[in-house]
Every structure is written in structure tokens, then in C-alpha cells.
């Protein structure tokens, strides 16, 4: 339980998907004009991450890793290393999950669906989602539980980041930003400053 809490807090603050690794920046910059759309996209991202990271962990553990296929073909599996297929398999899982989320959102929250527009299917190519699975694979998380907690934490971290920048952007419209910095430039600088602020979490040890 202690480990899970540690992993959860670490993935939200210390290894925040946006501020530490810059994952998901494209939709982060594009959908953060108002807090409402930011919230909607953030929750969709959490949902997709919470499901795809554990599923990809299971895929990795039982099919892709070196020697993972021993439950299927016995000892011959020790030399079989399918990890080069991880990219394609992870992307396939993510694309199907996003299609599912899109159908659910269209049915239960049509207003959100139309306000998110093209960015809902674009979650499939959001680097934060694929990045979550690839980091899970690289760090060799020990169990499905850890993978789920990691996915949830990464999603919540991304949500906090996008709501933060959306709130700032809503207010900055009324400030005297120099013309060349208007819009994109000041968002980059504001995100950089938020990143410096989040660095204060680096020393936390639970």
C-alpha cells in the first residue's frame, strides 16, 4: 500500500507527464484555451491511461517480454523476445480504447463530444498515452496494480497541468502581452515557469 501511494504521488508531481517529460504537449497547447474543455480532455486522458497501461502491462508480461511465452510453448520460449512488436501492439490497444471512449462520450455527454471535436480521437496519438505504456515497460513495473496506479497517477498529473495552464491562459488574455508573444509564445513561457514550480517536488520522499 505504501509503495502504491509512493508511486501514485511520484507520478503526479515528481514525474509529471507534462512538466518533466513533455508528453502530450500538442493537445495540451491546443485544448487549453478554456478550463471546461481542458477538464473534459483531461478526464478522457485519465480514463484512457487507466485502462491502457494495465492492459499493455499484461501484454508485455505474457506475450512480449523475453521468455514471456512459456505459458504457451514451454521451454522453447526462453529465447523468444517479441519486444520489438511492442510499439505496434501498444498502439493497437490505445487506438481501440480511444475508439471505445469516443463512442461512450458521444452517447453519454454529447455536449462534451462536440466541444472536444477532433481532439478526442487525437488522444490516440497523444504521446502521453503511448509514453505511459513505454515508461511502464522501461521501468519494469512489478504488477498489474502498480501499472494501474502509474496510469492513474500520470493521468491525474496531466489533468492538473492542463487545467493549470487553461486557467492561466484565460486570465492572460486581459494582460498586456507583447504582440509577438501573444498566444503561443506566452503559453510556452508560462508552462516553463510552471515546470520550474513543479521542480520543487523533486525532493519528496514518502
Amino acid at each position: 500500500m505504501q509503495d502504491y501511494l509512493n508511486l501514485f504521488v511520484k507520478s503526479i508531481f515528481v514525474e509529471n507527464m507534462v512538466f518533466a517529460f513533455f508528453l502530450g504537449m500538442c493537445s495540451y497547447l491546443a485544448v487549453s484555451k478554456t478550463v471546461k474543455t481542458a477538464m473534459g480532455l483531461g478526464i478522457a486522458v485519465i480514463f484512457v491511461l487507466v485502462i491502457t497501461v494495465p492492459v499493455d502491462w499484461l501484454l508485455n508480461e505474457y506475450i512480449l517480454k523475453k521468455g514471456a511465452l512459456d505459458w504457451l510453448i514451454g521451454e522453447k520460449a526462453a529465447e523468444v523476445d517479441l519486444s520489438f512488436l511492442s510499439f505496434i501492439m501498444f498502439i493497437a490497444v490505445i487506438a481501440s480504447m480511444v475508439q471505445l471512449v469516443e463512442m461512450i462520450v458521444e452517447k453519454f455527454a454529447p455536449a462534451l463530444y462536440s466541444s472536444l471535436g477532433i481532439f478526442l480521437p487525437l488522444i490516440a496519438v497523444n504521446c502521453a498515452i503511448l509514453g505511459g505504456s513505454l515508461f511502464m515497460q522501461e521501468r519494469e513495473l512489478a504488477s498489474v496494480g502498480e501499472a494501474t496506479v502509474y496510469g492513474l497517477g500520470s493521468g491525474v498529473g496531466w489533468l492538473i497541468a492542463i487545467i493549470g495552464i487553461a486557467a492561466i491562459r484565460e486570465k492572460i488574455r486581459y494582460s498586456a502581452v507583447p504582440a509577438p508573444l501573444r498566444g503561443l509564445g506566452i503559453t510556452f513561457i508560462a508552462t516553463g515557469l510552471m515546470g520550474i514550480a513543479f521542480m520543487t517536488f523533486m525532493g519528496i520522499k514518502l
Binding site: 504582440a179 515557469l193 510552471m194 515546470g195
Partner: protein, 221 residues
């Protein structure tokens, strides 16, 4: 004479495909695509150069393949087809990198895989390759990869120079550039430059300079 005019027009259009993305339609600073990798792997110069070459390869050939297939892909599954093509090319690039430049590929770690979700590639496939011929799509891919590479190399050079006083060139290793300053003037490297947030601020400043020089790129309020 009409044929000659036609040919010169075509050549001018094609050169535009190569030069537009460098400044006027830069994928990172104007189209806002491909930001993730541009920020994360620019701590040293060499990974930035290797990543630019990898993205160039994937973009050029993904554009050509999708352009060749553009009339046979059913519209409903086109995103999946694009993802499969890109993923296959990235697997190729990843294996080549692991074989020939293993330490750089370790530094790039997950970001080679993340080329698949690099918005520039999908973005240009949707915006250009699906509606244009293979040679033009190839040029568009090369042009956009060039625009991406320029920003990456500028940011990496600034960050590494100010952050560690070195420039890591492929083949040459780490070149200590600021040794005179360090030894004779008490100059200290700016450690903040190596940390992620400065990449964002450096790109913000590049956007500032670019839009101040080319006034028509300034956004309306």
C-alpha cells in the same frame, strides 16, 4: 513556352514545399506539432541531431507510402493504416539506431518509440500526403523534417552550451567550448538550462524572435 512556364511554376512550388516549413510554416513554432520530442531530447546536441535524422527518414518515407496508397485507403480506417505504416518505419529506425549508435539510442530511450505519436508525421499525412502525389509528398516530408531539425538543433545547442559548456557532436564526442571562460573568469555553467523547464522557455523565446521578425505570424487576440 507554356510547357516551360508550367515547369518553372512546378519547380517553384516544389522549392516552396522545402523552404516554407523552415520559417513561415515551421512545424514546431507555427503549426504547434511535434513539441514533445523537441523539448525532451534537447539536453545535448548529439541526440537532437540523431533524432532529426530519424524523424526525417520516417516522415519522408511515410509520406511517400501513404501518398502512393492514398486512393486505396478507405476513409474509415485511414488513421489505423497511417499508424501501422508509421509504426513499421519507426520499428525499423529503432533497430538501426540500437545497432549502430547504441549509447545515443539509450539516451533517446522511449522517445524513438514516441516518433509514432509525433504529431508532425500524422499531421502532414492528413494535411498533405493524402491529397498529393508521391514526389511532392516526399518533398513536403523532407521540408517539415528540416524545419523540425532546425528548431531542435538551435534549442539543443543553446541548452548544452549554456548548461554544460560543451557541444556533443556525433563522431567527435563532447567538445568543451567555454574552457577559457571557465578557467579565467569564474564563469559557472547554468545548471537550470539542463532541466526541462528551460527548454520550454527557450522555445518561447525562439517564437518571440521569429514572430517579431515576420510580423504576419502574430496571432490575433
Amino acid at each position: 513556352m507554356i510547357l516551360e512556364l508550367n515547369n518553372t511554376l512546378k519547380m517553384a512550388k516544389n522549392t516552396k514545399l522545402l523552404t516554407d516549413p523552415i520559417n513561415l510554416n515551421n512545424p514546431i513554432t507555427i503549426q504547434v506539432l511535434g513539441i514533445c520530442s523537441a523539448l525532451a531530447i534537447t539536453v545535448k546536441l548529439e541526440p537532437a541531431i540523431v533524432m532529426s535524422i530519424a524523424v526525417l527518414f520516417v516522415m519522408a518515407f511515410a509520406n511517400v507510402i501513404i501518398s502512393l496508397l492514398r486512393n486505396t485507403i478507405p476513409s474509415r480506417i485511414r488513421i489505423i493504416v497511417q499508424l501501422v505504416v508509421i509504426a513499421a518505419l519507426v520499428i525499423l529506425v529503432d533497430q538501426v539506431l540500437k545497432a549502430y549508435v547504441y549509447d545515443v539510442s539509450k539516451q533517446l530511450s522511449v522517445f524513438v518509440g514516441l516518433i509514432i505519436t509525433n504529431c508532425i508525421i500524422m499531421g502532414r499525412l492528413e494535411a498533405f500526403a493524402l491529397g498529393n502525389k508521391p514526389w511532392e509528398s516526399f518533398l513536403d516530408g523532407v521540408g517539415n523534417a528540416g524545419g523540425y531539425a532546425i528548431i531542435l538543433i538551435i534549442v539543443a545547442a543553446i541548452r548544452e552550451l549554456l548548461g554544460s559548456g560543451t557541444l556533443t557532436l556525433p563522431g567527435l564526442g563532447e567538445v568543451h567550448v567555454l574552457t577559457w571562460l571557465v578557467e579565467n573568469t569564474g564563469y559557472e555553467n547554468n545548471g537550470l538550462m539542463i532541466l526541462p523547464p528551460m527548454a520550454l522557455i527557450v522555445v518561447g523565446i525562439i517564437i518571440w524572435v521569429q514572430r517579431a521578425k515576420t510580423r504576419e505570424l502574430i496571432e490575433e487576440n
